[in-house]
């Protein structure tokens, strides 16, 4: 049985999905990659926008989510956090 993702893991998965797409991703792709319902994904995107980790840009009338420096910093911090958690069995 797989464990439920924590909030911090979901945030990491969202930001990583954006990062893996070169820093910019379409909402439909993010919905697929984040493995969340549309409503939940929207809540997280709003939360991440408030924290300035992603921004929404519009190119040719299409919306994209873009990773910010703050988002990249979170990804780096999370990698350390994950390694720390694993190493010390927390």
């Amino acid at each position: 049985m797989t464990e439920r993702r924590t909030q911090i893991q979901i945030i990491y998965d969202i930001l990583k999905a954006v990062h893996d797409k070169g820093g910019t991703i379409k909402p439909t792709h993010l919905l697929y990659k984040s493995n969340l319902s549309h409503k939940r994904m929207k809540e997280y995107v709003d939360q991440l926008s408030e924290k300035n980790m992603i921004t929404t840009t519009t190119v040719k009338k299409k919306n994209f989510y873009q990773l910010t420096d703050e988002g990249r910093k979170f990804l780096a911090d999370y990698r350390q956090f994950a390694q720390f958690t694993e190493a010390f069995g927390l």
């Binding site: 924590t6 911090i8 911090d77 999370y78 990698r79 350390q80 956090f81 994950a82 390694q83 720390f84 958690t85 694993e86 190493a87 010390f88 069995g89 927390l90």
Partner: protein, 226 residues
């Protein structure tokens, strides 16, 4: 005073142990800092308790360094024929340092046990820490260090069992390095316990601790570089 210092420490080791303690202090501070950073990111109290336990270990090293410095400086003065009243004057400070050391080490290890065993029931925790307080006082009042090292050994057995389970669950270099670190610290405690019978084991205990903290430093470097 000589009864306190001369029981197990070979004179040539005076001062070297302070270098070992300082190294352990630095590593403990960095781990506490990393734990606090993890708490800030996740908001989980488990990380705060982990950071607190290493913060207390760092404090214990400060108490031990202070007490050891006090003793060694008095030993040096002793050679210069200082009045014994001067030496007696520092004894309460030394004993206070010893008490702080015992209490902080016990509390730190019990916090690590609580984190490892996911103990969250406040009544259970209150009972455990109350019993530990009594044990700390008894260990302090007991002239030999046997009681102190025996309790440490018991707590470390539980901590190491957690790290064995952690390694078996995820067989990575990170989990192996941390397991080895706590195993070395367990051996350190075992050697300290037996050093009452063979003074050379006291040096061995310090070497095991140094190796343990080198492993902890290696684990920390791996985390930082990830």
């Amino acid at each position: 005073m000589n009864l306190i210092i001369g029981s197990v420490t070979p004179s040539w080791f005076h001062g070297v142990d302070i270098v070992f303690e300082t190294f352990s202090f630095i590593i403990a501070i960095f781990i506490a800092g990393m734990g606090y950073k993890a708490y800030r990111l996740s908001g989980r109290r488990r990380y705060l308790a982990f950071a607190g336990s290493f913060g207390l270990l760092a404090l214990s090293f400060v108490a031990r360094i202070g007490a050891a410095l006090l003793v060694y400086l008095e030993v040096l003065r002793d050679f210069r024929m200082v009045a014994s009243a001067d030496i007696a004057a520092v004894e309460p400070t030394f004993l206070f340092g010893r008490f702080v050391y015992i209490t902080t080490v016990f509390t730190a290890y019990l916090m690590l046990v609580a984190v490892a065993m996911r103990l969250e029931d406040k009544r259970v925790l209150a009972l455990m820490f109350s019993l530990l307080g009594i044990l700390a006082w008894t260990a302090h009042a007991y002239p030999s260090t046997v009681m102190f090292h025996l309790v440490n050994l018991l707590l470390l057995v539980f901590i190491v069992s957690h790290y064995i389970a952690n390694y078996l669950r995820r067989k990575t270099q990170n989990t192996l390095v941390t397991l080895l670190a706590f195993l070395m610290i367990l051996f350190e405690s075992l050697l300290f316990l037996t050093s009452n019978f063979e003074p050379l084991l006291y040096i061995g205990a310090y070497i095991f601790r140094l190796v343990g903290y080198v492993f902890l430093a290696a684990a920390l470097i791996r985390v930082i570089r990830s």
